[in-house]
Amino acid sequence: MSVDQATVRRVAHLARIAVTEDEVAHLQGELNAILAFVEQLGEVDTDGVEPMTSVIPMTLPLRADVVSDGDYAERVLANAPASEDGFFAVPKVVE
Protein backbone atom coordinates (compact mmCIF):
# COMPACT_ATOMS: atom_id res chain seq x y z
CA MET A 1 0.00 0.00 0.00
CA SER A 2 1.24 3.50 -0.64
CA VAL A 3 -0.18 6.87 0.29
CA ASP A 4 -1.03 9.80 -1.98
CA GLN A 5 -0.73 13.45 -1.03
CA ALA A 6 -4.38 13.72 -0.01
CA THR A 7 -3.83 10.87 2.46
CA VAL A 8 -0.74 12.58 3.86
CA ARG A 9 -2.83 15.71 4.52
CA ARG A 10 -5.63 13.64 6.08
CA VAL A 11 -3.23 11.74 8.36
CA ALA A 12 -1.50 14.98 9.38
CA HIS A 13 -4.87 16.41 10.35
CA LEU A 14 -5.80 13.25 12.28
CA ALA A 15 -2.46 13.54 14.11
CA ARG A 16 -3.11 17.28 14.67
CA ILE A 17 0.18 18.26 13.06
CA ALA A 18 0.14 21.22 10.67
CA VAL A 19 1.99 20.53 7.41
CA THR A 20 2.97 22.99 4.70
CA GLU A 21 2.56 22.21 0.99
CA ASP A 22 6.34 21.81 0.66
CA GLU A 23 6.37 19.21 3.43
CA VAL A 24 3.60 17.10 1.93
CA ALA A 25 5.62 15.74 -1.01
CA HIS A 26 8.60 15.06 1.20
CA LEU A 27 6.49 13.30 3.85
CA GLN A 28 4.77 11.25 1.17
CA GLY A 29 8.15 9.83 0.10
CA GLU A 30 9.23 9.09 3.67
CA LEU A 31 5.93 7.52 4.68
CA ASN A 32 5.93 5.34 1.58
CA ALA A 33 9.50 4.19 2.30
CA ILE A 34 8.44 3.06 5.77
CA LEU A 35 5.21 1.46 4.53
CA ALA A 36 7.12 -0.40 1.80
CA PHE A 37 9.50 -1.71 4.45
CA VAL A 38 6.73 -3.07 6.70
CA GLU A 39 4.93 -4.58 3.70
CA GLN A 40 7.03 -7.76 4.03
CA LEU A 41 4.89 -8.84 7.00
CA GLY A 42 2.39 -9.94 4.36
CA GLU A 43 4.64 -12.99 3.74
CA VAL A 44 4.01 -14.34 7.25
CA ASP A 45 1.19 -16.84 7.68
CA THR A 46 -0.66 -15.65 10.79
CA ASP A 47 -3.84 -17.69 10.34
CA GLY A 48 -5.04 -18.82 13.76
CA VAL A 49 -2.32 -16.86 15.61
CA GLU A 50 -3.49 -14.83 18.60
CA PRO A 51 -2.29 -11.21 18.59
CA MET A 52 0.08 -10.35 21.43
CA THR A 53 -1.54 -8.52 24.31
CA SER A 54 1.10 -8.87 27.02
CA VAL A 55 4.70 -10.09 26.68
CA ILE A 56 4.84 -11.24 30.29
CA PRO A 57 1.81 -13.22 31.49
CA MET A 58 0.24 -11.22 34.28
CA THR A 59 -3.16 -10.38 35.64
CA LEU A 60 -3.78 -6.72 36.09
CA PRO A 61 -3.84 -5.81 39.77
CA LEU A 62 -6.90 -4.39 41.49
CA ARG A 63 -6.99 -1.84 44.28
CA ALA A 64 -9.69 -0.34 46.43
CA ASP A 65 -11.64 2.37 44.63
CA VAL A 66 -10.64 5.19 46.94
CA VAL A 67 -8.89 8.51 46.48
CA SER A 68 -5.19 7.82 47.02
CA ASP A 69 -3.58 10.91 45.54
CA GLY A 70 -4.31 14.47 44.55
CA ASP A 71 -5.47 17.74 46.07
CA TYR A 72 -2.59 19.79 44.71
CA ALA A 73 -4.05 21.75 41.81
CA GLU A 74 -1.18 24.24 41.92
CA ARG A 75 1.40 21.54 41.17
CA VAL A 76 -0.78 20.13 38.41
CA LEU A 77 -1.06 23.57 36.80
CA ALA A 78 2.56 24.59 37.37
CA ASN A 79 3.67 23.73 33.82
CA ALA A 80 0.52 24.91 32.00
CA PRO A 81 1.08 27.45 29.21
CA ALA A 82 -2.08 29.24 30.43
CA SER A 83 -4.27 28.77 33.51
CA GLU A 84 -6.94 30.75 35.31
CA ASP A 85 -8.66 30.25 38.66
CA GLY A 86 -7.28 26.76 39.10
CA PHE A 87 -8.18 25.61 35.56
CA PHE A 88 -6.26 25.04 32.34
CA ALA A 89 -7.09 27.86 29.91
CA VAL A 90 -7.64 27.21 26.18
CA PRO A 91 -8.99 29.26 23.26
CA LYS A 92 -12.79 29.54 23.21
CA VAL A 93 -14.30 26.19 22.17
CA VAL A 94 -18.07 26.89 22.48
CA GLU A 95 -19.62 30.02 20.91
Binding site: I17, E43, L60, Y72, V90
Partner: protein, 497 residues
Protein backbone atom coordinates in the same frame (compact mmCIF):
# COMPACT_ATOMS: atom_id res chain seq x y z
CA UNK B 1 42.76 16.99 33.01
CA UNK B 2 44.21 17.34 36.44
CA UNK B 3 45.78 14.13 37.62
CA UNK B 4 43.97 14.08 40.97
CA UNK B 5 40.57 14.47 39.33
CA UNK B 6 41.12 11.64 36.89
CA UNK B 7 42.34 9.38 39.71
CA UNK B 8 38.80 9.52 41.06
CA UNK B 9 36.75 9.62 37.85
CA UNK B 10 38.54 6.68 36.28
CA UNK B 11 37.40 4.35 39.09
CA UNK B 12 34.60 1.99 38.19
CA UNK B 13 31.40 2.45 40.16
CA UNK B 14 32.27 -0.70 42.11
CA UNK B 15 35.76 0.62 42.98
CA UNK B 16 34.45 4.10 43.81
CA UNK B 17 31.92 2.57 46.19
CA UNK B 18 34.69 0.61 47.92
CA UNK B 19 36.81 3.76 48.18
CA UNK B 20 33.93 5.67 49.74
CA UNK B 21 33.07 2.84 52.13
CA UNK B 22 36.68 2.57 53.25
CA UNK B 23 36.96 6.34 53.69
CA UNK B 24 39.71 6.88 51.08
CA UNK B 25 37.81 9.90 49.76
CA UNK B 26 34.46 11.56 50.39
CA UNK B 27 31.33 11.69 48.26
CA UNK B 28 31.86 15.45 48.00
CA UNK B 29 35.39 14.96 46.60
CA UNK B 30 34.16 12.35 44.13
CA UNK B 31 31.26 14.56 43.02
CA UNK B 32 33.54 17.58 42.62
CA UNK B 33 35.88 15.52 40.45
CA UNK B 34 32.97 14.54 38.19
CA UNK B 35 31.61 18.09 38.02
CA UNK B 36 35.04 19.28 36.88
CA UNK B 37 35.20 16.52 34.28
CA UNK B 38 31.72 17.45 33.00
CA UNK B 39 32.74 21.08 32.63
CA UNK B 40 35.74 20.04 30.56
CA UNK B 41 33.65 17.77 28.30
CA UNK B 42 31.31 20.30 26.68
CA UNK B 43 32.44 19.14 23.20
CA UNK B 44 30.73 15.78 23.77
CA UNK B 45 27.32 17.42 24.31
CA UNK B 46 26.50 14.45 26.55
CA UNK B 47 24.70 16.46 29.24
CA UNK B 48 21.75 18.68 28.37
CA UNK B 49 21.62 19.95 31.94
CA UNK B 50 24.21 19.69 34.70
CA UNK B 51 22.94 20.07 38.27
CA UNK B 52 26.11 20.94 40.26
CA UNK B 53 24.35 22.53 43.22
CA UNK B 54 21.97 19.63 43.69
CA UNK B 55 24.85 17.17 43.21
CA UNK B 56 26.96 18.77 45.93
CA UNK B 57 23.97 18.94 48.27
CA UNK B 58 23.25 15.23 47.71
CA UNK B 59 26.95 14.36 48.13
CA UNK B 60 27.06 16.23 51.43
CA UNK B 61 24.07 14.22 52.64
CA UNK B 62 25.85 11.02 51.53
CA UNK B 63 28.95 11.97 53.52
CA UNK B 64 26.73 12.51 56.56
CA UNK B 65 25.18 9.06 56.08
CA UNK B 66 28.63 7.45 55.79
CA UNK B 67 29.60 9.18 59.03
CA UNK B 68 26.40 7.99 60.71
CA UNK B 69 26.82 4.42 59.47
CA UNK B 70 23.57 4.52 57.48
CA UNK B 71 25.05 4.46 53.95
CA UNK B 72 22.95 2.88 51.20
CA UNK B 73 24.18 0.45 48.51
CA UNK B 74 24.95 3.29 46.06
CA UNK B 75 25.82 5.91 48.67
CA UNK B 76 27.71 8.86 47.17
CA UNK B 77 27.86 7.44 43.61
CA UNK B 78 27.46 10.23 41.01
CA UNK B 79 25.12 9.28 38.17
CA UNK B 80 23.84 10.83 34.97
CA UNK B 81 20.18 10.33 34.08
CA UNK B 82 18.72 10.15 30.60
CA UNK B 83 16.32 13.02 30.02
CA UNK B 84 13.40 10.55 29.67
CA UNK B 85 13.19 10.21 33.48
CA UNK B 86 11.12 12.81 35.29
CA UNK B 87 13.25 14.40 38.02
CA UNK B 88 11.41 16.51 40.55
CA UNK B 89 12.28 20.20 40.26
CA UNK B 90 14.87 19.45 37.57
CA UNK B 91 13.98 20.27 33.94
CA UNK B 92 13.02 17.15 31.98
CA UNK B 93 12.57 17.54 28.23
CA UNK B 94 12.95 14.13 26.51
CA UNK B 95 15.22 16.36 24.35
CA UNK B 96 12.16 17.82 22.62
CA UNK B 97 11.32 21.48 22.11
CA UNK B 98 7.74 20.70 23.04
CA UNK B 99 8.92 20.05 26.63
CA UNK B 100 11.78 22.54 26.69
CA UNK B 101 10.64 24.25 29.87
CA UNK B 102 8.99 21.31 31.62
CA UNK B 103 9.89 20.98 35.30
CA UNK B 104 8.25 17.86 36.74
CA UNK B 105 6.56 18.18 40.12
CA UNK B 106 7.31 14.48 40.71
CA UNK B 107 10.17 11.98 40.53
CA UNK B 108 10.18 8.79 38.43
CA UNK B 109 10.12 5.58 40.44
CA UNK B 110 13.43 4.32 39.00
CA UNK B 111 15.32 7.51 39.89
CA UNK B 112 13.62 7.66 43.34
CA UNK B 113 15.01 4.19 43.98
CA UNK B 114 18.52 5.32 42.99
CA UNK B 115 18.37 8.35 45.31
CA UNK B 116 16.93 6.24 48.13
CA UNK B 117 20.00 4.00 47.80
CA UNK B 118 22.28 7.04 48.09
CA UNK B 119 23.18 7.93 44.49
CA UNK B 120 23.96 11.52 43.51
CA UNK B 121 22.40 13.30 40.49
CA UNK B 122 25.03 14.97 38.26
CA UNK B 123 22.57 16.03 35.57
CA UNK B 124 20.38 15.02 32.64
CA UNK B 125 21.78 13.26 29.59
CA UNK B 126 21.27 13.82 25.89
CA UNK B 127 19.18 11.43 23.76
CA UNK B 128 17.21 11.26 20.55
CA UNK B 129 14.01 13.28 20.82
CA UNK B 130 11.47 11.14 22.72
CA UNK B 131 13.99 8.26 22.38
CA UNK B 132 13.17 8.00 18.66
CA UNK B 133 16.45 7.31 16.95
CA UNK B 134 19.67 5.33 16.92
CA UNK B 135 22.26 8.10 16.87
CA UNK B 136 21.18 10.92 19.27
CA UNK B 137 21.14 13.20 16.22
CA UNK B 138 17.41 13.91 16.58
CA UNK B 139 17.90 15.66 19.93
CA UNK B 140 16.59 19.23 20.15
CA UNK B 141 19.89 20.02 21.88
CA UNK B 142 21.99 18.82 18.95
CA UNK B 143 23.87 15.56 18.51
CA UNK B 144 25.89 13.99 21.30
CA UNK B 145 29.39 12.97 20.24
CA UNK B 146 31.09 9.61 20.79
CA UNK B 147 34.27 9.94 22.87
CA UNK B 148 35.75 7.23 20.61
CA UNK B 149 37.28 8.14 17.25
CA UNK B 150 38.64 5.99 14.46
CA UNK B 151 42.41 5.54 14.67
CA UNK B 152 44.13 8.55 13.15
CA UNK B 153 40.85 10.36 12.42
CA UNK B 154 39.17 13.32 14.08
CA UNK B 155 35.80 12.78 12.36
CA UNK B 156 33.04 13.01 14.98
CA UNK B 157 31.12 9.76 15.40
CA UNK B 158 27.67 9.16 16.87
CA UNK B 159 27.46 7.47 20.30
CA UNK B 160 24.43 5.52 19.11
CA UNK B 161 20.94 6.10 20.40
CA UNK B 162 18.62 6.78 21.73
CA UNK B 163 20.55 6.70 25.07
CA UNK B 164 23.61 8.18 23.30
CA UNK B 165 24.33 10.89 25.86
CA UNK B 166 24.22 8.25 28.61
CA UNK B 167 26.66 5.95 26.79
CA UNK B 168 28.98 8.82 25.81
CA UNK B 169 29.04 10.08 29.42
CA UNK B 170 29.83 6.64 30.84
CA UNK B 171 32.59 6.01 28.26
CA UNK B 172 34.09 9.49 28.79
CA UNK B 173 34.05 8.93 32.57
CA UNK B 174 31.93 12.00 33.23
CA UNK B 175 29.52 9.96 35.37
CA UNK B 176 30.07 6.73 37.30
CA UNK B 177 27.06 5.14 35.61
CA UNK B 178 23.84 6.15 33.90
CA UNK B 179 20.16 5.29 33.72
CA UNK B 180 18.84 4.79 30.20
CA UNK B 181 15.75 3.44 28.49
CA UNK B 182 15.42 0.85 25.74
CA UNK B 183 12.45 0.50 23.39
CA UNK B 184 14.14 -1.20 20.43
CA UNK B 185 17.83 -1.22 21.36
CA UNK B 186 18.32 2.23 22.88
CA UNK B 187 20.51 0.96 25.75
CA UNK B 188 22.35 -1.88 24.00
CA UNK B 189 23.28 -0.23 20.69
CA UNK B 190 24.84 2.89 22.31
CA UNK B 191 26.62 0.66 24.85
CA UNK B 192 28.11 -1.33 21.95
CA UNK B 193 29.16 1.89 20.16
CA UNK B 194 31.02 3.22 23.21
CA UNK B 195 32.65 0.14 24.76
CA UNK B 196 30.28 0.16 27.74
CA UNK B 197 27.93 -2.40 29.28
CA UNK B 198 24.18 -1.93 28.94
CA UNK B 199 21.32 -4.14 30.02
CA UNK B 200 17.66 -4.00 29.05
CA UNK B 201 15.86 -6.00 31.73
CA UNK B 202 12.78 -8.14 31.23
CA UNK B 203 9.65 -6.10 30.51
CA UNK B 204 8.09 -5.36 33.90
CA UNK B 205 11.33 -5.59 35.90
CA UNK B 206 11.67 -1.79 36.25
CA UNK B 207 8.79 0.59 36.77
CA UNK B 208 7.88 2.84 33.87
CA UNK B 209 6.17 5.35 36.17
CA UNK B 210 7.56 8.83 35.58
CA UNK B 211 9.42 7.79 32.43
CA UNK B 212 8.34 9.73 29.34
CA UNK B 213 6.33 7.20 27.32
CA UNK B 214 7.34 6.26 23.77
CA UNK B 215 5.94 2.75 23.12
CA UNK B 216 4.47 1.46 26.35
CA UNK B 217 4.50 -2.28 25.54
CA UNK B 218 8.22 -2.11 24.67
CA UNK B 219 9.80 0.58 26.91
CA UNK B 220 12.07 -0.57 29.75
CA UNK B 221 14.61 1.27 31.89
CA UNK B 222 18.08 -0.09 32.54
CA UNK B 223 21.65 0.92 33.36
CA UNK B 224 24.65 1.77 31.18
CA UNK B 225 27.90 1.18 33.06
CA UNK B 226 31.64 0.64 32.72
CA UNK B 227 31.66 -2.99 33.81
CA UNK B 228 29.30 -5.92 34.22
CA UNK B 229 29.55 -5.62 37.99
CA UNK B 230 28.72 -1.90 37.87
CA UNK B 231 25.63 -2.69 35.78
CA UNK B 232 24.58 -5.38 38.28
CA UNK B 233 24.81 -2.91 41.18
CA UNK B 234 22.77 -0.30 39.34
CA UNK B 235 20.06 -2.69 38.19
CA UNK B 236 19.58 -4.03 41.70
CA UNK B 237 18.66 -0.51 42.81
CA UNK B 238 16.58 0.38 39.74
CA UNK B 239 14.45 -2.79 39.60
CA UNK B 240 11.45 -3.60 41.76
CA UNK B 241 7.70 -3.64 41.97
CA UNK B 242 5.78 -0.38 41.80
CA UNK B 243 2.02 -0.25 42.40
CA UNK B 244 1.96 2.90 40.22
CA UNK B 245 2.90 0.86 37.12
CA UNK B 246 0.39 -1.95 36.61
CA UNK B 247 2.84 -3.72 34.24
CA UNK B 248 5.61 -3.83 36.84
CA UNK B 249 5.96 -7.32 38.29
CA UNK B 250 5.71 -8.18 41.96
CA UNK B 251 8.77 -10.43 42.21
CA UNK B 252 11.75 -10.12 44.54
CA UNK B 253 14.85 -8.47 43.05
CA UNK B 254 17.81 -10.87 43.19
CA UNK B 255 21.27 -9.82 44.33
CA UNK B 256 22.60 -9.41 40.79
CA UNK B 257 26.14 -8.76 41.99
CA UNK B 258 26.25 -12.29 43.43
CA UNK B 259 25.64 -13.63 39.91
CA UNK B 260 28.73 -11.82 38.54
CA UNK B 261 31.52 -14.38 38.52
CA UNK B 262 29.21 -17.37 39.01
CA UNK B 263 30.12 -20.41 36.92
CA UNK B 264 28.56 -20.82 33.48
CA UNK B 265 29.68 -24.42 33.21
CA UNK B 266 27.11 -26.53 31.41
CA UNK B 267 25.02 -23.55 30.29
CA UNK B 268 23.62 -24.01 26.80
CA UNK B 269 24.15 -21.00 24.59
CA UNK B 270 22.24 -20.76 21.32
CA UNK B 271 23.68 -19.22 18.16
CA UNK B 272 20.72 -18.22 15.97
CA UNK B 273 21.47 -18.85 12.30
CA UNK B 274 18.99 -16.17 11.17
CA UNK B 275 21.17 -13.46 12.72
CA UNK B 276 23.80 -14.04 10.02
CA UNK B 277 22.28 -11.32 7.87
CA UNK B 278 23.43 -10.43 4.38
CA UNK B 279 26.11 -7.82 4.24
CA UNK B 280 27.17 -8.28 7.85
CA UNK B 281 30.71 -7.04 8.38
CA UNK B 282 33.31 -9.86 8.56
CA UNK B 283 34.62 -8.20 11.71
CA UNK B 284 31.27 -8.68 13.42
CA UNK B 285 31.14 -12.32 12.29
CA UNK B 286 34.65 -12.89 13.69
CA UNK B 287 33.72 -11.18 16.97
CA UNK B 288 30.65 -13.36 17.30
CA UNK B 289 32.75 -16.53 16.81
CA UNK B 290 35.27 -15.22 19.33
CA UNK B 291 32.49 -14.64 21.87
CA UNK B 292 31.28 -18.22 21.42
CA UNK B 293 34.88 -19.42 22.02
CA UNK B 294 35.12 -17.36 25.22
CA UNK B 295 31.93 -18.92 26.58
CA UNK B 296 32.99 -22.39 25.46
CA UNK B 297 36.32 -21.96 27.24
CA UNK B 298 34.38 -21.16 30.42
CA UNK B 299 32.51 -24.46 30.16
CA UNK B 300 29.35 -23.41 28.31
CA UNK B 301 27.96 -25.54 25.54
CA UNK B 302 27.40 -23.78 22.20
CA UNK B 303 24.48 -25.00 20.10
CA UNK B 304 23.06 -23.85 16.77
CA UNK B 305 19.46 -22.71 16.99
CA UNK B 306 16.82 -21.28 14.70
CA UNK B 307 14.60 -18.27 15.37
CA UNK B 308 12.69 -18.38 12.09
CA UNK B 309 10.73 -15.12 12.41
CA UNK B 310 13.76 -12.92 13.15
CA UNK B 311 13.54 -11.16 9.80
CA UNK B 312 10.05 -9.88 10.58
CA UNK B 313 10.87 -8.41 13.99
CA UNK B 314 12.02 -5.06 12.66
CA UNK B 315 9.04 -4.32 10.38
CA UNK B 316 6.62 -5.53 13.09
CA UNK B 317 8.44 -3.36 15.62
CA UNK B 318 8.03 -0.25 13.48
CA UNK B 319 4.28 -0.80 13.33
CA UNK B 320 3.80 -1.52 17.04
CA UNK B 321 6.19 1.19 18.27
CA UNK B 322 4.90 3.91 15.96
CA UNK B 323 1.24 3.08 16.65
CA UNK B 324 1.85 3.28 20.40
CA UNK B 325 3.89 6.45 19.96
CA UNK B 326 1.12 8.19 18.04
CA UNK B 327 -1.23 7.41 20.89
CA UNK B 328 1.20 8.29 23.73
CA UNK B 329 2.31 11.56 22.17
CA UNK B 330 -1.28 12.76 21.72
CA UNK B 331 -0.90 14.27 25.19
CA UNK B 332 1.41 17.03 23.89
CA UNK B 333 -1.30 19.45 22.89
CA UNK B 334 -0.11 22.72 24.36
CA UNK B 335 -2.77 22.66 27.08
CA UNK B 336 -1.49 21.04 30.25
CA UNK B 337 2.26 21.43 29.86
CA UNK B 338 4.84 22.19 27.23
CA UNK B 339 5.07 24.85 24.60
CA UNK B 340 1.97 26.37 23.00
CA UNK B 341 1.66 28.10 19.64
CA UNK B 342 -1.53 30.17 19.33
CA UNK B 343 -4.08 29.50 16.57
CA UNK B 344 -7.44 30.88 15.41
CA UNK B 345 -9.23 28.08 17.22
CA UNK B 346 -8.29 25.16 19.43
CA UNK B 347 -7.67 22.74 16.54
CA UNK B 348 -5.31 25.16 14.84
CA UNK B 349 -3.59 25.69 18.19
CA UNK B 350 -3.03 21.93 18.52
CA UNK B 351 -1.78 21.62 14.95
CA UNK B 352 0.61 24.56 15.15
CA UNK B 353 1.85 23.59 18.61
CA UNK B 354 2.66 20.04 17.51
CA UNK B 355 4.16 21.10 14.16
CA UNK B 356 6.50 23.51 15.90
CA UNK B 357 7.27 21.51 19.05
CA UNK B 358 8.09 18.12 17.54
CA UNK B 359 11.17 17.51 15.42
CA UNK B 360 10.97 15.90 11.98
CA UNK B 361 11.63 12.29 13.05
CA UNK B 362 8.97 12.50 15.78
CA UNK B 363 6.42 14.04 13.40
CA UNK B 364 7.14 11.30 10.85
CA UNK B 365 6.73 8.52 13.42
CA UNK B 366 3.49 9.96 14.81
CA UNK B 367 2.08 10.21 11.31
CA UNK B 368 2.98 6.63 10.38
CA UNK B 369 1.50 5.47 13.69
CA UNK B 370 -1.66 7.46 13.05
CA UNK B 371 -1.94 5.98 9.57
CA UNK B 372 -1.58 2.34 10.66
CA UNK B 373 -4.19 2.82 13.37
CA UNK B 374 -6.64 4.69 11.14
CA UNK B 375 -9.98 3.27 10.05
CA UNK B 376 -9.60 0.43 7.55
CA UNK B 377 -5.90 -0.18 8.18
CA UNK B 378 -5.89 -1.38 11.79
CA UNK B 379 -6.24 -5.08 10.92
CA UNK B 380 -3.79 -4.99 8.02
CA UNK B 381 -1.04 -3.33 10.03
CA UNK B 382 -1.39 -3.24 13.80
CA UNK B 383 -3.25 -6.52 14.32
CA UNK B 384 -0.98 -8.29 11.82
CA UNK B 385 2.13 -6.94 13.61
CA UNK B 386 0.84 -8.10 17.01
CA UNK B 387 0.27 -11.59 15.56
CA UNK B 388 3.81 -11.63 14.16
CA UNK B 389 4.95 -10.57 17.60
CA UNK B 390 3.34 -13.69 19.08
CA UNK B 391 5.33 -15.77 16.58
CA UNK B 392 8.59 -14.01 17.45
CA UNK B 393 8.04 -14.72 21.14
CA UNK B 394 7.12 -18.33 20.31
CA UNK B 395 10.47 -18.75 18.48
CA UNK B 396 12.28 -17.94 21.74
CA UNK B 397 9.94 -20.08 23.87
CA UNK B 398 10.69 -23.04 21.61
CA UNK B 399 14.47 -22.77 22.01
CA UNK B 400 14.21 -22.16 25.75
CA UNK B 401 12.02 -25.27 26.03
CA UNK B 402 14.78 -27.21 24.23
CA UNK B 403 17.10 -26.37 27.12
CA UNK B 404 18.84 -23.27 25.75
CA UNK B 405 19.73 -20.93 28.63
CA UNK B 406 20.72 -17.86 26.63
CA UNK B 407 21.28 -16.68 23.08
CA UNK B 408 24.50 -15.06 21.85
CA UNK B 409 24.30 -12.51 19.02
CA UNK B 410 26.02 -9.35 17.84
CA UNK B 411 24.69 -6.15 19.40
CA UNK B 412 24.92 -4.05 16.23
CA UNK B 413 25.55 -4.66 12.52
CA UNK B 414 28.53 -2.24 12.50
CA UNK B 415 30.70 -0.08 14.78
CA UNK B 416 29.81 3.59 15.41
CA UNK B 417 29.20 5.64 12.26
CA UNK B 418 29.88 9.29 11.51
CA UNK B 419 27.53 12.10 12.46
CA UNK B 420 25.36 12.85 9.41
CA UNK B 421 26.22 9.58 7.65
CA UNK B 422 22.82 7.92 8.04
CA UNK B 423 20.46 10.87 8.27
CA UNK B 424 19.73 10.91 4.54
CA UNK B 425 16.46 10.63 2.66
CA UNK B 426 15.53 7.07 3.61
CA UNK B 427 14.60 6.70 7.30
CA UNK B 428 14.73 2.90 6.98
CA UNK B 429 18.53 2.98 6.70
CA UNK B 430 18.74 4.23 10.29
CA UNK B 431 16.05 1.77 11.45
CA UNK B 432 18.27 -1.14 10.36
CA UNK B 433 20.61 -0.29 13.27
CA UNK B 434 18.13 -2.10 15.52
CA UNK B 435 18.04 -5.36 13.56
CA UNK B 436 19.67 -7.44 16.36
CA UNK B 437 18.12 -5.66 19.32
CA UNK B 438 14.38 -5.21 18.61
CA UNK B 439 13.49 -8.89 18.79
CA UNK B 440 13.98 -8.84 22.57
CA UNK B 441 11.73 -5.85 23.08
CA UNK B 442 9.10 -7.55 20.93
CA UNK B 443 9.37 -10.68 23.11
CA UNK B 444 9.83 -8.82 26.43
CA UNK B 445 13.13 -10.63 27.09
CA UNK B 446 16.23 -9.30 28.88
CA UNK B 447 19.41 -8.57 26.93
CA UNK B 448 22.88 -7.35 27.86
CA UNK B 449 25.44 -5.75 25.55
CA UNK B 450 29.05 -6.30 26.56
CA UNK B 451 32.10 -4.91 24.73
CA UNK B 452 34.14 -7.77 23.27
CA UNK B 453 36.75 -6.26 20.96
CA UNK B 454 37.86 -3.40 18.74
CA UNK B 455 37.31 -2.95 15.02
CA UNK B 456 40.24 -2.63 12.60
CA UNK B 457 39.71 1.12 12.92
CA UNK B 458 39.98 1.00 16.70
CA UNK B 459 36.28 1.31 17.55
CA UNK B 460 34.54 -0.81 20.19
CA UNK B 461 32.33 -3.72 19.13
CA UNK B 462 29.74 -5.35 21.38
CA UNK B 463 28.13 -8.73 21.78
CA UNK B 464 24.63 -9.29 23.06
CA UNK B 465 23.33 -12.05 25.31
CA UNK B 466 19.60 -12.67 25.40
CA UNK B 467 18.05 -14.43 28.40
CA UNK B 468 14.86 -16.11 29.48
CA UNK B 469 12.21 -13.91 31.12
CA UNK B 470 13.70 -12.67 34.43
CA UNK B 471 16.98 -14.41 33.58
CA UNK B 472 19.09 -11.30 34.27
CA UNK B 473 21.32 -13.15 36.74
CA UNK B 474 22.41 -15.60 34.05
CA UNK B 475 23.18 -12.69 31.73
CA UNK B 476 25.42 -11.08 34.33
CA UNK B 477 27.32 -14.38 34.78
CA UNK B 478 27.78 -14.82 31.04
CA UNK B 479 28.59 -11.14 30.51
CA UNK B 480 31.32 -11.37 33.12
CA UNK B 481 32.93 -14.28 31.25
CA UNK B 482 33.17 -12.08 28.14
CA UNK B 483 34.46 -9.12 30.14
CA UNK B 484 37.16 -11.25 31.76
CA UNK B 485 38.22 -12.76 28.46
CA UNK B 486 38.07 -9.59 26.34
CA UNK B 487 39.02 -7.04 28.98
CA UNK B 488 37.42 -3.64 29.48
CA UNK B 489 37.72 -0.91 26.86
CA UNK B 490 38.70 2.60 27.89
CA UNK B 491 39.07 5.61 25.62
CA UNK B 492 42.78 6.43 25.60
CA UNK B 493 42.71 9.71 23.65
CA UNK B 494 40.75 12.14 25.81
CA UNK B 495 40.63 14.67 22.93
CA UNK B 496 37.71 16.65 24.35
CA UNK B 497 39.58 17.85 27.44
Amino acid sequence: MSHARHELTRLTLTAAHEGLSEGHFTATELTQAYLGAIEAAGDLNAYVLATPEKALEMAKASDARYAAGTAGPLEGIPLGIKDMFATEGVRTTACSNILKNFVPPYESTVTSRLWKDGAVLLGKLNQDEFAMGSSTESSAFGAAVNPWRRSGSSQPLVPGGSSGGSAAAVAAQICAGAAGTDTGGSIRQPAAFTGTVGIKPTYGRCSRWGVVAYASSLDQAGPIARSVNDAALLLRSMAGHDPKDSTSVDMPVPDYEAAVGASVKGKRIGIPREYRVDGMSPEIVALWDKGADMLRAAGAEIVDISLPHTKYALPAYYIVALAEASSNLARYDGVRYGERVAGRDIVEMYEKTRASGFGSEVRRRIMVGTYVLSAGYYDAYYLKAQKVRTLIKRDFETVFAQGVDAVLAPATPSPAFGIGEKSGADPVEMYLQDVFTVTLNMAGLPGIAVPAGLSSEGLPLGLQLIGRPFGEEGLFSLGQVIEEAAGRFEVTDRWWE
